[in-house]
Symmetry: C2
Subunit: 201 residues, 2 copies
């Protein structure tokens, strides 16, 4: 029981900020102080930005992306190859691939991976919607870009099974040495995969 | 020039979050996504909390503390020894001392330290207000709790000079080995100070 030093409004701000990833109780306190000291320049605009985002953000019913429009900017972009769909676990993966300009294609956000231990089954993900998208036609290639974890690979196999009856090319991201990575620090699985998939110099 | 992936509202949210201490561009993006995924539980409440804090936060005209009332909770607390005033550089130092329950006293927030190189002179700090507080009477001890930096010590000396004509006891925080600290990692100045101020076991 610590009594509040700076009023309940600021304590509440600290508590909520502490729930952001990357901020703990101590850094949330520092962030709150930073904010209240910059009331006009930062605290007010951020409050408004949050209210606006809260009011306008939607989940795209087609692909699961988060945007202020539905269908989202990616799904309605005529400059994208909508016949290629990159399947990702999370919106953060979509954003990461977009930042990397990895492929100018459409996406499908699963909303997680199959994980029986955590009680996550196929119906908790958007796999049915993915099958519908493929069944509707127009999708030629599905790039499975889930994380290289056991759950990710299980999910990838499940999706492949579900789509066995459709004429769609299913690919996955290459395994290998990360660009800039040092061999000495890589695990055996990655090194073996990189060796197996070696390419001509 | 990266085009926005997720609408201008979310991009603006990311930009503002990146200005918080402890969050860089990448973690701001992660925080924004965390927020928009938890719209009801976190994004909306945080927006409201920020608007409320922005509307209600004040700087205490007496001591410089940040609070939702002026004079602040600390200045009006009858259970505190208002005759002892702890002089700190910043509100964060006040909060840190309060968390440590270091002393149940009043405070005076300077708003920085004297730093000619950065163009910070006495009039940029609340030193005049501190002299007024002492001149008004009732202050018996002034604990100078500024950082142990060159600027902090210069400021401490300047304040002591300004108060030379008043009958007020001026003290400073002890130097020594931090609790839990290892001697091997401490600088010579700290070790010498700890040795000079050694106490009976």
């Amino acid at each position: 029981m610590s009594k509040t030093i700076a009023g309940p409004e600021i304590e509440r701000l600290i508590q909520l900020l502490a729930r952001l990833p990357g901020l703990g109780p101590r850094s949330a306190r520092r962030a709150a102080l930073h904010l209240v000291k910059r009331r006009e320049q930062l605290l007010q605009p951020l409050g408004v930005a949050m209210a606006e985002a809260a009011a306008r953000v939607k989940v795209c019913a087609n692909c699961g992306n988060i945007d202020t429009r539905d269908p989202c900017t990616v799904c309605t972009d005529p400059a994208r190859d909508q016949s290629t769909v990159v399947v990702v676990e999370d919106v953060s993966d979509l954003w990461a691939l977009e930042r990397a300009k990895a492929l100018n294609a459409a996406y499908h956000v699963l909303g997680g991976v199959l994980s029986p231990l955590d009680g996550v089954g196929p119906d908790d993900l958007t796999i049915r919607r993915l099958v519908e998208r493929v069944a509707a036609g127009g999708v030629e290639e599905l790039v499975i870009a889930v994380n290289a974890t056991v759950e990710g690979q299980t999910t990838a196999h499940y999706i492949t099974d579900q789509l066995a009856d459709f004429d769609v090319k299913i690919t996955r991201l290459a395994h290998g040495v990360p660009v800039g990575g040092e061999l000495d620090y890589l695990d055996e699985g990655t090194l073996s995969a990189a060796m197996r998939s070696r390419t001509r110099f």
